[in-house]
Amino acid sequence: MTEFAPEQRAARFRRRVVVAGLFMFACLALLAARFHHLQVARHEYYLTRAEDNRIALMPVSPNRGAIVDRNGVPLARNYSAYTLEITPSAVADLGATIDALGEIVAIDERDRQRFRKLLAESRNFEGVPIRSRLSDEEVARFVAQRYRFPGVDVQARLFREYPEGASASHVIGYIGRINTRDVEAIEGRGEEANYRGSSHIGKAGLERSYEAELHGRTGYDEVEVNAGGGAVRALSRTPAVQGNDLELTLDIELQKVAEKAFGERRGALVAIEPSTGGVLALVSTPTFDPNLFVDGISVPDWKALNESPDHPLLNRAIYSTYPPGSTYKPFMALAGLESGKRTITQRMPDPGYFMFGGHRFMDDKVGGHGMVDLHKSIVVSCNTYYYQLANDLGIDGIAAFMAPFGFGARTGIDVPGEAEGVLPSPAWKQRRFRKPEQQRWYGGETISVGIGQGYNAFTPLQLANALATLVNDGKMFRPHVVRYVVDAATGARRMIEPEPMRVLDLDPRHLAAVRAAMEDVNRTGTGARAFRGADYTSGGKTGTAQVFSLRGQRYVAGRLAERLRDHSWFIAYAPADAPSIALAVLVENGGFGSASAAPIARQVLDYHLLHARRDEPAAEDPEAVAEGE
């Protein structure tokens, strides 16, 4: 066996041992040379530095940028308050210290839990907060007994506050304490140095997507220290650079009008300024109070939000998808015109149903609408017209026309967490399903897709942006909530998304025909009741998204459980000739669009056109000129 291994192999091993020995010797010699360099050649230099070395560097956290709406109303800002912090490495018995502190300031179980969690996640010898927002009295009590608590200190810290509370919370989002995942993300971006001394980071909404702008640059204080390591005096300061402010396109008053109009109902509203793509309002109801999250949300609050059947944390405006129902018809009509399958004046009979493959696709109106042209088909929302049109266009034709409008694709809005939705096509079905029989596309499915039902699944944002594109003559913007990033120190403003993302090639006569029909919807059609007596011109379209397949039975709202009732849609723009606002409203389980969604749209348009503060061009123009130079 092994004892009689050939001499050759043993010799090779011995050679390798010699190589390894020489290698190790060389490396240690290299170290010796390095020590000689440091300790002999450069000794004087380092000795001087050691003697001068009474200077410690302390991070100075930057102030986080503020968020204001288009009229300068603050939506997120900072205020100063005291926290009680423990430096674990300087405390012998943490439990006893906390117990003793609890006799001076109120420390509840939640504070302890949060402290344990932060302690486990902390990486360095920095203070870990045990209590935040101390009252003046508590600060005074602690300071009087500070000598008892080495390693415990009161610190003045900035806290984040959202003065509008639950309004627009899905847009603005919130910040929270930096956790291990955040640390990994920060390290991944190579930003460790900039977050030294930072305790919070954007977790949701704009606070998250604009984290890089809002955070600012961390500064350093050079502090002279005594033999105990305590700071004696500041020597020099590399100041922190405050984070940039965000000025939104959002109008918080408009947002609140919209949120109020929803009342207790669940739903979403997205209002866009067509000429810029700026989001004027982005509503998802119910909402939540972002202030709860800033210091770590309590377990009961979290349970209440997370387990509510209404899902308040869900951003329905950009993450929930629904079939567009009849709000799809103006886009379908345009598809018919652009493809040449229909002309503006062409008329067809509506017997009240459309036969396909031996199945009757019913119209809402028993007996039909008589002779129907494109205009009438939109005003009265005639299904039969679109059954026929969908069949003529074919599913690939529909998908090819709708894709450039952004249906079934993320718009790229600057609020994080957007859903893609589904623009149905045979190719999509192939990807979506596994079994061959499910992968097949049926002709009947095309017919449902043509009236906005079936597999169609779009976010309210997609619908609003498609409408904004339609009324902006095909010029499509990437929708955005932030208008300017403002340098707090210099006041310099950087504009977000100033140029259209793409321009659709659409015939102006076709656009005019569709818009004329949408105006008549609000004048004489399905939107007329909601828009009676409006002091401005507008266009709109109702829609109803089926939640529950009735399999041929007639739909009677009262008979169905509330959660199975249809979703109510309304899309609208105003003024009709040069729209300054285009919006999509969805009310979950709201029934017919004309009944519940249209009145919300009316209130929002009323406020925007009749009451909203106008932009003051005089104040903005000099900036614009300055930027152009």
């Binding site: 190790m24 240690l28 300790q39 050691a50």
Partner: protein, 380 residues
């Protein structure tokens, strides 16, 4: 009376029999040095370090008294156990200081990556011993696979220092098993040229706007922080700046025991653990550092001597690899503290405060002793 005098002596001989006198002397010198330094850097930890040393020496004695072939036969179960524990850490591990390394097993927390430092070379040595006489290219591929699995699991924790040590321990076995030079040389050349050029042209390459093609922006930033610590003066950069000042200001004879200003003004981070070498260099100067280098050289020399004389292939490979692992600990730690290597969490072997690493290292010494004894036993 006679029995009383006689029995303790017999007991002592029995206790000392497994121990190699040369290694014991060297180990005693290192541990003594460690106590002197802890007394200066962190005297309140003296008591617990004494406990650590006791536990570590007991573990060493236990391993030393087991014949090496018996230890090698445990290689596969230990390796499998180690890998399973690493997977368990990944799934249920506790997060501490930003990394997932610990596994809570009720009574205590264990760090399975530490077990891997012993199980890894044991496993590969055992494998090559099984294949003795017909070792071919395929065996090196198998060995590389056996090495890559646990190293990968440690890398994702993430623990750069430990994964480096586990990887090194395996690579050394493969090297001693006869990995062809034509495979070693190109890798070494590419590595040296690559690192060398980054160091040489670091200033130019780290200018903002220079695109490194293969690396992303943040990866570039990492490398650049290593090259120029001043870009991160509060973090890793601060450690290195302060530890080089400590070493350099020590001079030839040092500032004297308990008199290091860097140490005692709390400028040195982790001064009783990973950066304890800076305390030594500051208080005992170049003399103190050269003495430490000399003791390490003696340890390495004795280790290689044991490897040369070992009776079986497995024992030879294991002894060689263990010796080089000691070297790696020492070189990486001193290189990092003196600013020529990046900061990875590797302690100074036998000197840094802490029980886990000390037990692992003493197990390594125990293995060397077992190999040495198995050889004398076999030849006697």
């Amino acid at each position: 009376m006679i029995e009383f005098r006689f029995h303790p002596l017999r007991l002592l001989t029995a206790l000392l029999r497994p121990l190699d006198p040369a290694l014991m002397l060297i180990l005693g010198a290192l541990l003594g040095y460690a106590f002197v330094l802890i007394a200066s850097a962190s005297p309140e930890r003296m008591d617990s370090q004494i406990v650590h040393v006791g536990v570590a020496l007991a573990a060493m004695w236990l391993v030393a008294s087991v014949p090496i072939q018996r230890l090698l036969s445990l290689a596969l179960p230990l390796y499998v156990l180690g890998v399973l524990l690493l997977v368990a850490v990944e799934l249920f591990g506790e997060v501490s200081k930003g990394a997932q390394r610990w596994l809570d097993v009720g009574v205590t927390r264990i760090q399975p990556s530490e077990l891997m430092k012993i199980a890894m070379p044991l496993m590969l040595a055992w494998y090559f011993q099984q294949r003795e006489g017909r070792i071919g290219v395929a065996d090196f591929l198998v060995a590389a696979g056996l090495l890559a699995l646990p190293v990968g699991l440690v890398v994702v924790q993430p623990d750069l220092g430990t994964s480096l040590l586990v990887a090194a321990s395996g690579v050394y076995v493969i090297f001693f098993a006869g990995l062809p030079w034509k495979l070693i040389v190109p890798v070494a050349v590419v590595g040296i040229v690559g690192i060398g050029s980054i160091v040489a042209f670091g200033d130019t390459l780290c200018q903002p706007g220079v695109d490194w093609q293969v690396l992303r922006e943040y990866q570039k930033n990492r490398v650049c922080t290593l090259l120029d610590p001043t870009t991160d003066p509060l973090g890793k950069g601060f450690h290195i700046i302060q530890s080089t000042i400590a070493i350099g200001s020590g001079g030839v004879f040092g500032k004297g025991w308990l008199s290091g200003t860097q140490t005692h003004l709390a400028f040195l981070p982790e001064r009783h653990t990973d950066f304890v070498f800076a305390v030594l260099a500051e208080e005992f100067g170049l003399m103190g550092t050269l003495v430490l280098l000399l003791i390490y050289l003696l340890l390495l020399a004795r280790g290689l001597q044991i490897a040369m004389n070992a009776a079986t292939l497995g024992a030879r490979l294991l002894a060689g690899a263990m010796t080089m692992v000691f070297f790696t600990y020492a070189f990486v730690n001193m290189g990092m503290v003196s600013g020529i290597l990046p900061v990875v969490g590797v302690p100074l072997p036998f000197i840094s405060y802490g029980g886990t690493a000390l037990v692992t290292l003493c197990l390594g010494v125990g293995i060397l002793m077992s190999i040495q004894r198995s050889r004398t036993a076999g030849s006697a």
